[in-house]
Amino acid sequence: MPPYIGVAMMIILGLAFAGASIVGAGLIRPKHPTPGKMDAYESGVPPTGDTRGRHHVRFYMVAMLFVVFDVELIFLYPWAVRFAQAEDMAEKVTMLVAMILFVTLLAVADIVGWKMGVFDWSKE
């Protein structure tokens, strides 16, 4: 039995539960919309201005850093398995050196982000 069947089953069960509860609640819940109710909630004050304005570019920069880290980290996972299974010392040392080089790149990325102030959310 392929292992992904269990995963597929849980996703289907989840969808069934969510769909059934949303539809089921739709049958019993009241519906009396009033203008006040339909407004966006902004602590009782009528909403002003447009919500979907522009946001600080820092969010984008963090996402950018995340992509780089994520791409590099995911290749370390097979490395970790191989490293744990390695038998002879020579292989272990080569693998370790390759990993340290790789992690150095990550460290450089972190330091670059640090120096460029991507993580200083309180400045400016």
Binding site: F59, V67, V68, D70, V71, I74, F75, A109
Partner: protein, 168 residues
């Protein structure tokens, strides 16, 4: 038809619909979310093909990281107005010709390929450890260079976005 085939056709159908949504949606956030949907479905297809690690790379990198990057990018620029029609109408005939050329080439490739019909593929699960020895031993240098390129690209992106902030 077995369970895997049912899943494959379901995933493929959703992936194609979502890909069409990416191209056709006027609302740019819908387009981005459809793209994420396509990525998740492709990850599902990799799963069925026993490429577990590749499926998770697809989920983590494309559906996770790149999708979030896209949506953050949209939120930064989003003015709330849906896209208006294309401004460069003169490009349409050229685009049509280019699309036709692509369809011809792709169609020719699809027709002329020997698809090994009737051959049941033997799927082999490659353990991640084997992948690791290729990446970190046999191909260590190109691999490190590739990650260096990625790092440089990231620094470039940060520099560009920083310059934009100071101009505001």
């Amino acid at each position: 038809m077995n369970f895997a085939a049912v899943l494959f056709y379901a995933f493929s159908a959703i992936a194609i619909v979502a890909a069409l949504g990416t191209v056709l949606a006027r609302n740019i956030v819908y387009a981005a979310l459809s793209l994420v949907g396509t990525m998740v479905m492709i990850a599902g297809i990799f799963f069925i093909l026993h490429a577990d690690f590749l499926a998770l790379v697809q989920l983590l990198i494309y559906a996770g990281a790149v999708g979030v990057l896209l949506i953050f990018g949209l939120m930064l620029t989003n003015t709330g107005q849906p896209a208006t029609g294309p401004k460069d109408r003169w490009q349409r005939p050229i685009a049509f010709v280019a699309a036709m050329a692509f369809i011809l080439v792709a169609g020719y490739a699809a027709v002329s390929t020997d698809w090994m019909q009737g051959v049941v593929p033997q799927l082999e699960r490659v353990p991640p450890a084997v992948l690791a020895s290729s990446l970190f031993r046999n191909w260590a240098l190109p691999f490190e260079i590739a990650s260096l390129v990625l790092l440089v690209a990231m620094i470039g992106a940060i520099v560009i976005s920083r310059r934009e902030t100071s101009n505001d």
